[in-house]
Symmetry: C2
DNA sequence: TCCATGCTTCGATAGTCCTCGAAGCACGCG
DNA sequence: CGCGTGCTTCGAGGACTATCGAAGCATGGA
C-alpha cells in the first residue's frame, strides 16, 4: 500500500462520525444497513451522511449496493487489513507474516 | 481507545509527509533523528516540519527529547498498537489476543 | 554577556473539509 | 406517465489545516 492510498484511508478514519458509522456497520456484517438507518441511528442529516459514506467507500472501507430504492452500506470485510499491514510494516520495517485476528471469518450479521 | 483519540491519531496519519517522517524515524529506533536531519532529508522547511512533528507527537506516534541545542524525535515503539487494536476491534468486534508482529523488539538504530 | 545555531511559535494566505438546505436523480407503484 | 420515497449532488457558509517567512525562545560557546 503506497503512501497516497494509505493517507487517504487514514483520512477517512480521521472523523468521529465515520468511526461511528463503521462500528454501526461492523456487527451487521455483509447484510449491511440502509443509508437511512445509519442516518437515523446517528442523528445525522442525509446529505451529510452521504458525504461521509462516500469518503468511506472511496477509501475501500465500506461497500455500497442498491436494493430497490434503498442504498445498503456494508463494512468491507478486509478493509482494515491493508492499513494494519501498513502500520506494522512502518513500525517494524518488515511485513507481518500473519495477523491472526483478521483471519477469522467475518462477523455474522445480527441486526 | 476512544473515538476522539483514535480519530486524532488517524488524522495524524492522514498526511503523506507525516507518513514519510515515520518511515524515516522507524529504522533509527530509539536513537531517533534531529528535527533538522528530518527536515533536510525530506526537503521541508523547518517551521512546516515542526508543525507536522507536533501533530505526530500529540497523537502519541513519536516522542521528542531535547539534546543540547537539538530536538531529537524518535518513533513511539508502541505507537501503532492502539490503532491496530482499534481497527481489529472495530472490524471483528473483539479484542485481538495478540499481535505477534508488534511483540518484537524495536528496530535497531542504523542512521 | 554577546553571538550563532536549532527549533518553535506567530501571522498571514491559500487550500481543504464539514455541514446544511435545496435541488436533482433513481426507483417502485399506481 | 405522474407521484412519493430514498438517497445523492450542488451551492454556500463556516471551520479547520497546510505552508511559508519572520520573529522569538533555548542552548552552547566565545
Amino acid at each position: 500500500m503506497d503512501d497516497t492510498s494509505a493517507s487517504r484511508a487514514f483520512a477517512a478514519l480521521s472523523h468521529p462520525i465515520r468511526l461511528e458509522i463503521l462500528r454501526l456497520l461492523a456487527p451487521a456484517g455483509r447484510d449491511g444497513l440502509t443509508a437511512g438507518t445509519v442516518a437515523t441511528r446517528l442523528g445525522v442529516v442525509s446529505s451529510t451522511l452521504s458525504h461521509h459514506l462516500g469518503q468511506l467507500e472511496r477509501a475501500g472501507l465500506v461497500h455500497a449496493r442498491r436494493q430497490g430504492r434503498f442504498m445498503v452500506y456494508a463494512i468491507a470485510p478486509d478493509g482494515a487489513r491493508p492499513l494494519i499491514d501498513y502500520l506494522a510494516q512502518t513500525w517494524d520495517g518488515q511485513r507481518p507474516d500473519r495477523l491472526a485476528v483478521l483471519d477469522r471469518p467475518p462477523a455474522v450479521a445480527r441486526g
